[in-house]
């Protein structure tokens, strides 16, 4: 698996990256002229059943012999990519539970954070811009159901969270995001922390090498939950 494409005598594989919009900036940094990108609304992760359907339709529509492979900029995402199968291309998929591993640079860093602080609400500039925050959720709930109900729903949803962690992967003017992340922590009455992220796993995702943190799914094979689990 170490160098899948070299093994096939393809020095610079032409790849199509299908990824979540929250990581667009981090991924675009590694544009090398051989990679094409397509980004999808972050909201897909809220309904895993729909995520796999949307991505499958997209994959089925990719013309034959245009690329050497398809890269998925998604983790297992609550089984949102389970069942996906590419008949025309091999797929490269990061072997991670969700995108936080990508932002932190490794599944190990994510595990460390999740185990030390299980009540962490992670934010990145991409999540703030293209995804959602507790405050944006509150505003959306309030619009539909009024402030009192919105407060109750958000409390029920967020009552076990104890900190907001802003991951800074660099390349941004971070101050505006720090301000928003802090405001969210204050809004929930929980602690705020910041952590230097890493681009390492994003780099590997787009230009390789696809080593231990990646799965190569051969054409015609289907993504399964068990591929991501260590049990």
């Amino acid at each position: 698996m170490k160098d899948y494409f070299l093994h096939k005598r393809i020095d610079h594989p032409k790849l199509l990256v299908l990824a979540c919009a929250v990581m667009e900036q981090e991924i675009r940094r590694f544009q090398n002229g051989k990679v094409e990108f397509k980004f999808f609304d972050y909201g897909l992760h809220r309904t895993p059943e729909n995520m796999s359907k949307v991505l499958q339709i997209e994959i089925d529509q990719v013309p034959e012999e245009e690329y050497d492979g398809i890269v998925l900029g998604y983790g297992l995402c609550s089984n949102g990519i389970v069942g996906i199968c590419a008949h025309k291309y091999p797929m490269i998929v990061p072997r991670i539970h969700d995108c936080i591993s990508l932002f932190l640079g490794s599944p190990e860093s994510y595990q460390e954070q999740a185990e030390q602080h299980p009540g962490t609400y992670y934010l990145t500039p991409g999540w703030i811009e293209k995804g959602e925050t507790p405050i944006s959720k509150f505003n959306s709930y309030a619009q539909s159901y009024g402030e009192e109900t919105a407060r109750w729903v958000l409390h029920e949803e967020m009552k076990n969270y104890t900190r907001i962690l802003l991951i800074n992967t660099g390349g941004y003017e971070i101050e505006p995001y720090q301000k928003i992340a802090r405001e969210n922590a204050e809004f929930l009455g929980i602690s705020y922390q910041e952590l230097q992220g890493s681009s390492a796993l994003f780099k590997s995702l787009v230009i390789g090498p696809w080593e231990k943190d990646f799965l190569i799914i051969e054409r015609g094979h289907t993504i399964q939950q068990g591929m991501f689990l260590d049990i």
């Binding site: 609550s78 539970h97 939950q225 049990i231």
Partner: protein, 247 residues
């Protein structure tokens, strides 16, 4: 409809604490067709998150001596099941799920006098919690509402429960079922660790394990050796009864 109305309903109900006889009144009316229509309306009220109607309809059916399990299993639970399915298909989201759970809870509060009447027939004791490092408890709390409503006694260990705490609690409370919930694919492995610890404990064989949560599949449940699996929170009562041979 807002949180205020529902909270108020709950408080009023708790305050008045009507007995079953008071709710039923002197002359119960029987009309099969009307009852099934009322049950349908009750389901719809749960779907529509309408706490007020849920309370009124439940009270009316108690008055008309509709069987407790019929109100629960043909009225309240089908409504909640419909909401869970809509949630899974992305046709509604967390707020709607939570508000329907709250309406369901109002219905069960209203049924409480009946639950107390049949409480002598406790079906079994269930130790429940979310697994280690998982703090997402919306599904688990819904399962608790449903199991309690069906006559199970619940020991709720809360969230982020280690295998050791689960096993100790089962032993301490002499539970017949250990129920675990996880929302994250990264934490559901702790279900396996808990079941393994249970198998190595002296209470092995005395307790059935039940697992569920959005990412948990029947294959996963089987692979880790769980005795029961719930695809939806609403199936928890029937699976739990089946595990104890009381279905």
């Amino acid at each position: 409809m807002g949180e205020g109305i529902c909270s108020q309903e709950m408080r009023n109900h708790n305050k008045t604490g009507k007995t079953v006889a008071e709710m039923r009144g002197p002359n119960p009316i029987f009309d099969g067709e009307e009852v099934s229509q009322m049950l349908e309306r009750l389901s719809r009220a749960v779907v529509m998150r309408d706490c007020k109607s849920v309370k009124e309809l439940t009270e009316r059916m108690i008055m008309e001596e509709v069987d407790f399990f019929r109100i629960l299993n043909q009225g309240l639970i089908p409504g909640m099941l419909a909401v869970s399915e809509r949630f899974r298909r992305g046709e509604c989201y967390v707020p709607e799920l939570l508000m329907s759970s709250r309406a369901l809870n109002i219905g069960l509060h209203t049924l409480r006098p009946l639950i107390q009447e049949i409480k002598k027939d406790v079906l079994g004791r269930v130790v429940i919690g979310t697994v280690k490092f998982d703090l997402h408890d919306i599904g688990k709390n819904l399962v608790i509402i449903l199991l309690e409503g069906n006559g199970f006694e619940i020991i709720d260990l809360g969230v982020d429960v280690s295998p050791e705490r689960f096993v100790k609690a089962v032993e301490k409370y002499d539970a017949q079922i250990l129920a675990m919930s996880a929302l994250l694919t990264s934490t559901m492995g702790w279900m396996k660790s808990t079941i393994e610890l249970l198998h190595h404990s002296r209470i092995n064989g005395r307790v059935k394990t039940l697992v569920g949560g959005a990412p948990v599949s029947p294959i996963f449940a089987k692979n880790i050796g769980a005795d029961g699996y719930c695809q939806e929170a609403t199936s928890a009562p029937s699976v739990a009864k089946m595990l104890l041979g009381k279905d």
